[in-house]
């Protein structure tokens, strides 16, 4: 049968259909791709900005008072400085500063320093006796991760107190959230009637939707007085890690229960029926058959909950206290990483101060901690997931 040849009118329509939409389609496609690419730029932006300011933080020159003073006046060209015996010991190659002039130490004796004058572009000038000598230091990575004191005014930048507080608060939150969340999930997926489920799921959604600042208020005005009434006013401080931890746990319960319930519901009924057929009770089926089968999803839920608790800010800012404190007692006040970031940035912040840089260094640590946890949770799901057909 011969193919009918298109009429001129059809040719015209065909030509119009071909040309215009294609260019428009390409334009739309590229616009949408750019929108999608913005998300990549966000991550790049986070890593770049955090990294750059953290670099500033670690390369910034700090001046530490050595408690040594100039024992006598010196002129602009003197290379030997008489100094007092007191104060910290100096070493060759140390950088020191007197007034505005930076010098490098070449040789050290008990009462005299041989120095190279006018370093780092500062002019060599005369200095009077009795002036303080400052030593140049930087925040080293080692000090940052292992130092146990965070006191910017005296140049101490060890983040262990902040990290410790974060971990203790998270641990308390997990003690609250994991059993309760898993219990709720098992109840919802194995036991609950339709009516119970219709009442419970909205309740959990409401709990999940409450803003964290309201939870912080709750921690400060109800949980802390409760703890103080139970354990005594002299045991529990007004600001303490325990009440922040408990409330973060409550905040995280809906997350744990919904993710765990999804995992439990995904386990096919055939497994449960097989267990019942062998004579198992409902509890035995739930705990020994269904939960292990849903293990990957439940583990992922736990890890995501930990990540959420680590990143929580407002509850600790309101209830856990201000001021870093390295302690293992949960009833004491301590500041977490996030609480510290918020406190520092809510004051007056000059863009070149070391406080400003420290926010970024701490933020970088926080970012990598949560990112690692999230990646681990995705890997856990992929690796341990049992596939049923």
């Amino acid at each position: 049968m011969p193919v009918p040849t298109p009429t001129p009118a059809e040719d015209d329509i065909a030509a119009r259909l071909r040309s215009r939409p294609r260019r428009f389609e390409a334009f739309i496609r590229w616009t949408l791709f750019l929108a999608a690419a913005l998300s990549i730029f966000t991550t790049i932006g986070i890593v770049y900005e955090l990294g750059r300011e953290s670099l500033n933080f670690f390369t910034r020159q700090l001046w530490e008072d050595t408690n040594k003073q100039l024992a006598a006046a010196v002129g602009p060209t003197d290379t030997v400085l008489p100094v007092t015996r007191s104060g910290a010991a100096l070493h060759p190659d140390d950088t020191i500063r007197v007034e505005e002039e930076v010098m490098r130490v070449l040789a050290v004796e008990p009462t005299a320093l041989t120095v190279a004058r006018g370093q780092q572009g500062t002019p060599a000038t005369a200095h009077a006796a009795g002036l303080d000598i400052y030593r140049g230091t930087r925040v080293s990575l080692v000090e940052f991760f292992t130092g146990t004191q965070w006191a910017p005014q005296i140049g101490k930048f060890g983040m262990l107190p902040l990290l410790n507080a974060t971990l203790i608060v998270t641990a308390i939150a997990m003690i609250v959230a994991l059993p309760l969340g898993l219990g709720i999930a098992i109840y919802l997926s194995e036991y609950a009637s339709d009516r119970a489920r219709r009442l419970l799921k909205p309740t959990l959604e409401i709990l999940a939707g409450v803003p964290t600042v309201v939870y912080g208020y709750f921690a400060l005005t109800l949980v802390t007085p409760l703890l103080r009434a139970i354990f005594g006013k002299d045991v529990v401080e007004v600001y303490n890690m325990a009440s922040a931890g408990i409330v973060i746990g409550i905040l995280v319960i809906p997350l744990v229960s919904s993710m765990s319930e999804d995992a439990l519901s995904a386990v096919p009924q055939s497994l449960r029926h097989a267990a019942y057929a062998l004579g198992a009770t409902k509890l035995e089926t739930a705990l020994q058959v269904v939960v292990p089968a849903a293990f990957s999803g439940i583990a992922a839920a736990f890890i995501v909950a930990i990540s959420r608790a680590i990143g929580e800010t407002m509850i600790v800012a309101l209830a856990a206290g201000a001021g870093p404190n390295f302690t293992f007692n949960p009833f004491e006040a301590a500041e977490t990483i996030t609480g510290h970031i918020v406190r520092i940035s809510s004051g007056d912040l000059s863009y070149d101060s070391i406080d400003y840089n420290s926010i970024f260094a701490l933020g970088l640590v926080l970012f990598f901690m949560t990112l690692t946890l999230n990646i681990i949770s995705q890997r856990v799901v992929r690796k341990f997931r049992q596939v049923y057909d």
Partner: protein, 417 residues
């Protein structure tokens, strides 16, 4: 046929296993009960501080301002204006008159002026609702002993004046107007920024990138999933570095010449806050929209292609309208999240004390959650009451938003049949 050995092993153990099973059920039910108990405790705790007895003194008591026995709250605006003229110092009167004649003002405004400038109440001590209901005698004896000149009033901290007054350092006069307006402005910019980009990204990932499993598309998807889990304060830090600092000319309005002479161009504006929150909720909108678009049946697309439509025509006229309820629900949930966010906005630089209403994207701002945070952080008891009232305002806003989401979802679902 009896298998003796097995049955003897099986039977005695059975009651114990059933008993353990019952205990297990009770444990799980208790867990669930804890969730409900906590939610109730939270709401009751907030309500507890929203109402209660207050011991207060007045500089000029309201009774002194009643005319012919009519209490001041029920006076006619002309009478209120007359009282103001009688009691206000002349310079204040002149300033008020320059803004507009007193007699033409709204009654509520005049009453507010009388309260704040003439009567000047001062709060001495406050009590919660529970205390007010159950320890009334004790409170009355205490007030009689400590504050002989004060009067004991039962009041609600959540009043219409609370909603219309701006921020103030005196708890008696404080209101949330600046905070609510700030929140609304910020959320408006957030949605204007995040909705088109989020839905666009979702369309790209679900329609154009499907089947082309290139490394770029896989990276984009993984990246979005990871971004959804980043703590909100990190977005605040990012916003501080990029929008407040690096893009300060843009976000402060300097580029558009909007910075008044002599003032420093500061990037801590509503625009920065809106963009920061926009980045924060972008992954949420993307993921929810993706799910909504994925739920559109393939047959719909194929039918459209069969009729000769291009890809974009199919998307715009068929896929999007079909996925819109899901997309809108996800967007409204993201909006609720944005309204409640505090930490990123503190880092981006919400003002700690601001009494002027925000006038546009380049204004300084404060938001409702930040106001709640500031009031809660104050040591005085009075501010806890204000915080409780503000929390109720916030929760009502969120409730309205979520109810809208549910209504929209049901209406669209019904239309689709």
């Amino acid at each position: 046929m009896k298998t003796n050995g097995a049955e003897d092993l099986f039977q005695p153990n059975l009651p114990r296993r059933h008993r353990i099973g019952r205990w297990g059920l009770i444990l799980f039910q208790i867990s669930t009960l804890v969730g409900i108990v906590v939610l109730t405790a939270l709401v009751l705790n907030v309500l507890n501080r929203t109402f209660g007895y207050v011991a207060m003194t007045y500089q000029v008591p309201p009774e002194a301002l009643s005319i012919n026995g009519i209490p001041v709250e029920r006076l006619h605006p002309l009478d209120l204006a007359y009282l103001l003229r009688q009691h206000l110092p002349p310079d204040l009167l002149a300033r008020l008159e320059s803004e507009g004649p007193l007699e033409q003002r709204d009654r509520r405004e005049l009453l507010d002026l009388l309260t704040t400038k003439v009567m000047r109440p001062k709060v001495l001590e406050t009590w919660t609702l529970a205390q007010s209901l159950f320890c009334r005698q004790a409170i009355q004896t205490r007030v009689a002993r400590l504050y002989p000149d004060a009067r004991l009033v039962f009041r609600s901290w959540l009043t219409p004046e609370f909603l219309t007054r701006p921020q103030s350092s005196r708890p008696e006069f404080a209101g949330v107007r600046t905070a609510v307006l700030g929140s609304l402005w910020v959320v408006a910019i957030t949605i204007a920024f995040a909705f088109p980009i989020g839905v666009g990204t979702a369309i790209y990932l679900e329609e154009y990138a499907k089947g082309k499993d290139t490394w770029v598309n896989r990276i984009i998807q993984t990246n979005i999933n990871n971004l959804a889990g980043v703590p909100s304060i990190i977005y605040g830090i990012l916003g501080l570095a990029i929008f407040v600092r690096a893009l300060a000319p843009l976000t402060s309005g300097a580029i558009f010449g909007l910075v008044p002479e002599g003032a420093t161009a500061n990037g801590r504006t509503i625009l920065s806050a809106g963009l920061t929150l926009g980045l924060l909720i972008l992954p949420i909108i993307i993921i929810n929209s993706q799910e909504a678009i994925r739920a559109v049946p393939k047959s719909l697309r194929l039918a459209s292609y069969a009729l000769g439509a291009t890809q974009w025509q199919t998307i715009w006229h068929h896929v999007l309208p079909s996925a819109m309820p899901g997309i809108l629900t996800g967007t409204i949930l993201a909006m609720s999240r944005a309204i409640g966010e505090t930490a990123p906005l503190i880092v981006v630089g919400a003002s700690t004390f601001i009494t002027v209403d925000p006038t546009g994207p380049f204004s300084k701002f404060t938001t409702l959650p930040i106001q709640i945070y500031q009031w809660t952080a104050r040591p005085q008891d009075v501010f806890r009451h204000l915080a409780a009232a503000a929390i109720i305002v916030l929760l009502v806003m969120l409730l309205a938003l979520n109810a809208t989401a549910i209504i929209l979802r049901n209406r669209y679902a019904k239309r689709r049949g």
